[in-house]
Amino acid sequence: MRIGLSGWIMGGVLLSCAAVPALAEYGDVVLNRRAEAEGMPPVIFPHWFHRIRFRCKVCHSELGFEMRAGANDVTMVEIIEGKFCGLCHNNEIAWGPENCELCHSGRPGLEPGIRGGNATAGPGRW
């Protein structure tokens, strides 16, 4: 059986991922470009919770969220004005922006980015 160079490199990448313990739920996003610098805990956005209720296209097409962690520079002013999260988080569809602690629920010092649990950070079933 010929695995080839690409196969070995691929295997190495997957194995190196496997060494990272994964606790967060698959697709959780940490938003902390602004939060802590402005005195609030980081925001944890759970994809799993939202996709039960909305298809990807609602937020990533109609609302204008880019499908890349770090590509959406969202401010609280925009949310309060009804843009981005604020389209639903307005006390009509979901809790309003005055419920700070429900979104700003992260531990201090978290790096922004998308996190995963289970097999994201490696082949959990291998």
Partner: protein
């Protein structure tokens, strides 16, 4: 040799597969949420929402397509009434896959979640053969890797994409 390797691997994996039971970390133990945070007890726990959905062995440990197809979940397709909800039911075959089976990309399940413009023309040009997709780029989060490995089933699931044996293509 290949057969022996497969046999050995499947013997190794068999107990793990039989014993597999989905288990979700609580928010207080997920390494992200502050267990002392004032809102933590108000938030829904993953186990409460996900344990009632069709199980899977990877990702959120939920088979999201099955949950959708069986009507167990019915997430909203659009926010504004005037938004056109577009579906497409064509398959694309990616045949340049080396020694791996050919990749069959089904538009239908993808468009059940996504709109055309989520992928076209930014991630993929709408022309068969015009997208230089490689596994390296996917592993780096490009092309399919935008979602697969982040929010859709991860890259450890080779055969879910590499699903068409060459023998079936008659080549």
């Amino acid at each position: 040799m290949k057969g022996l390797c497969c046999l050995f691997l499947s013997m190794l994996m068999a107990p793990a597969i039989q014993a597999y039971e989905p288990k979700w970390n609580s928010l207080k133990q997920d390494g992200l949420h502050d267990p002392e945070g004032p809102g933590i007890d108000t938030l829904q726990e993953p186990s409460e929402a996900l344990s009632v959905l069709p199980p899977d062995t990877t990702g959120n440990q939920v088979n999201w397509m099955k949950a959708l197809d069986e009507g167990i979940i019915n997430p909203r397709t659009n926010f504004r009434p005037e938004t056109k909800v577009r579906l497409r039911d064509t398959d694309v075959l990616f045949k340049e896959t080396g020694e791996m089976p050919v990749v069959r990309f089904p538009h239908l399940p993808h468009t059940q979640w996504l709109d055309c413009r989520n992928c076209h023309e930014k991630l993929f040009v709408s022309k068969v053969g015009a997208n230089p997709v490689t596994m390296f780029k996917i592993l780096q989060g490009e092309y399919c890797g935008r979602c697969h490995g982040a929010v859709a089933f991860p890259l450890t699931e080779c055969n879910r994409c590499h699903s068409v044996p060459r023998s079936r293509l008659g080549e």
